[in-house]
Amino acid sequence: MAQHVVCRSDEIPVGGSRRVNVAGRDIAIFNVDGTFAAIANRCPHEGASLCKGRIYGLIRSDEPGQYWVERPGELVRCPWHGWEFDIRTGKSYCDPARTRVKSYDVSVTKGSALQEGPYQIEVYEVSLQDNYIVLTL
């Protein structure tokens, strides 16, 4: 299990996303209400880049003209055909058991702690004061 520092935590605002390539894998990292989650960036349907999708919630309705949004910010909607995935688990809304994208562990770590390893830092000058997003593969 290698740990990779991907970016500073303030580089992805709440509700934002960023595409990263870690050890050859195309990964989308999202900031869901202040906590980070990472899933494979490719939609299993036709391969669109999920980090380009709209981040939204579940629209619920029990009759025409009445609707509300649940779990705002927790789902990403594929930019092409609108397939929806739970950002935290990678599971699709329509078929969570079988249609899903790979989910990765991410955490936020202080720059000072990163000096000690076992982290793999490829691109970043790490400063002691800042927080960094660390992805575990």
């Binding site: 050859g24 894998r25 195309d26 494979a40 490719r42 299993p44 349907h45 036709e46 391969g47 669109a48 880049s49 380009k52 999708g53 709209r54 930019p79 092409w80 055909h81 609108g82 078929d95 079988r98 249609t99 899903r100 994208v101 790979k102």
Partner: protein, 364 residues
């Protein structure tokens, strides 16, 4: 579909792809005006461009993501598919598009003022040359015609036919009369004469309601009804005798689905065996006409719950009459590497993605 997919992006088809449905857009409203004569510029300014649609300048139904791929808005600004360099970067280069056929969705097909329609079509065709065909050698154009005025349509076809960058003639399926009727035959005669296929692209606009029974309540119904318009017009063209009169005419049904094609023809065959006395002007069977004359584009690809059923459908329809299309930049885009989730022989795949279109349009 059991799909945990984290592999690297596979290379797009090595042999090259012909995309038979790309929708070029204006960068800003009024872009077409530069291609209109003063007389018609003034007319549009003073009187607008009335069509049979109740919604002027708007779609009848709200669409998923405004009908566009959400990632297709050019970084330099403007609507999706209005910027050639971003189209190259997002579509033509990465998907290895060897030829891309433009399908402009022109108002000129359906204005109530036929003279204005003719001017708009001529302007749209000039705009295709100026903004697209002269800028990227991979792109090919569609001759947009004011289809309800067949004589004017023929004049526009004659004007464009010498320019081989135009590879087909575009008509829309929600026409004033079923497209097999005689009022359209001059267009087919010119099409056959110049060896230019007729492309019938499903459309949100037209002279008629979106179904034979009237207007639907929802976009989901309209999207589905595109198939019905294609079926109606195909039957009309067969039984009115268009293909008997113009045996070398080619018709392409664009974005109308294709899974329905085989059962429709089976049914026609059975009816023809019983009822052919009513249509003695048909010298051949329906299946003979479609074999020689009819093609279908693939997007949006059929997605049966059991993937392998798509294999059956592809073979019933015939992989020799299917033409790959992306529908870029619309939301229901198909990717050539992922649209067909079934085993195909390399020959079949290459036929659908490239060779059928190269042969039909004489591209190489």
């Amino acid at each position: 579909m059991d799909a945990v997919l984290e592999t690297d992006h596979p290379a797009a088809s090595k042999a090259g792809v012909v995309d038979c449905d790309i929708h070029p857009a204006f960068s800003k409203p009024g872009e077409l005006a530069a291609f209109l004569p003063e007389r018609w510029k003034a007319h549009v300014r003073d009187f607008g461009m009335p069509t049979p649609n109740v919604y002027v300048g708007a779609l009848a139904y709200p669409r998923l993501a405004h009908g566009m791929r959400r990632d297709s808005y050019p970084p330099a600004g403007g609507p999706p598919a209005s910027d050639l360099s971003f189209m190259q970067e997002q579509l033509l280069d990465p998907l290895n598009i060897e030829f891309g056929i433009l399908q402009p969705l022109s108002t000129g097909h359906g204005t109530l003022n036929l003279e204005l329609g003719a001017a708009l079509c001529q302007a749209t065709n000039d705009w295709q040359i100026d903004k697209w065909l002269s800028k990227d050698a991979r792109l090919r154009g569609s001759i947009v015609v004011p289809q309800e005025d067949a004589a004017a349509s023929v004049r526009e076809i004659e004007r464009r036919a010498p320019d081989r960058r135009f590879v087909q003639i575009s008509v829309t399926p929600r026409s004033l009369e079923p497209l097999g009727r005689k009022r359209y035959w001059l267009i087919y005669e010119a099409a056959q004469h110049h060896d230019l296929p007729i492309s019938m692209h499903s459309a949100a606009y037209g002279a008629r309601a979106n179904t034979g029974a009237g207007w639907t309540s929802f976009y989901i119904e309209e999207h589905f009804a595109f198939s019905h318009a294609a079926q109606t017009n195909l039957a009309s063209m067969i039984f009115e005798g268009v293909f008997e009169a113009f045996p070398n005419l080619k018709v392409i049904l664009v974005e109308g689905g294709f899974a329905w094609f085989a059962p429709l023809i089976w049914r026609m065959e059975r009816e023809w065996e019983r009822m052919q006395a009513e249509v003695p002007h048909l010298k051949r069977r329906p299946t003979d006409y479609v074999r020689d004359c009819v093609y279908l584009t693939t997007q949006p690809v059929e997605e049966p719950p059991v993937n392998r059923h798509l294999s059956d459908i592809l073979r019933w329809v015939g992989t020799e009459r299917l033409l790959f299309s992306t529908d870029y930049p619309h939301w229901d885009f198909d990717h050539p590497d992922h649209a067909f989730k079934v085993p195909l022989t390399p020959q079949e795949r290459r036929a659908i993605l490239r060779d059928n279109a190269v042969k039909l349009f004489r591209l190489a």
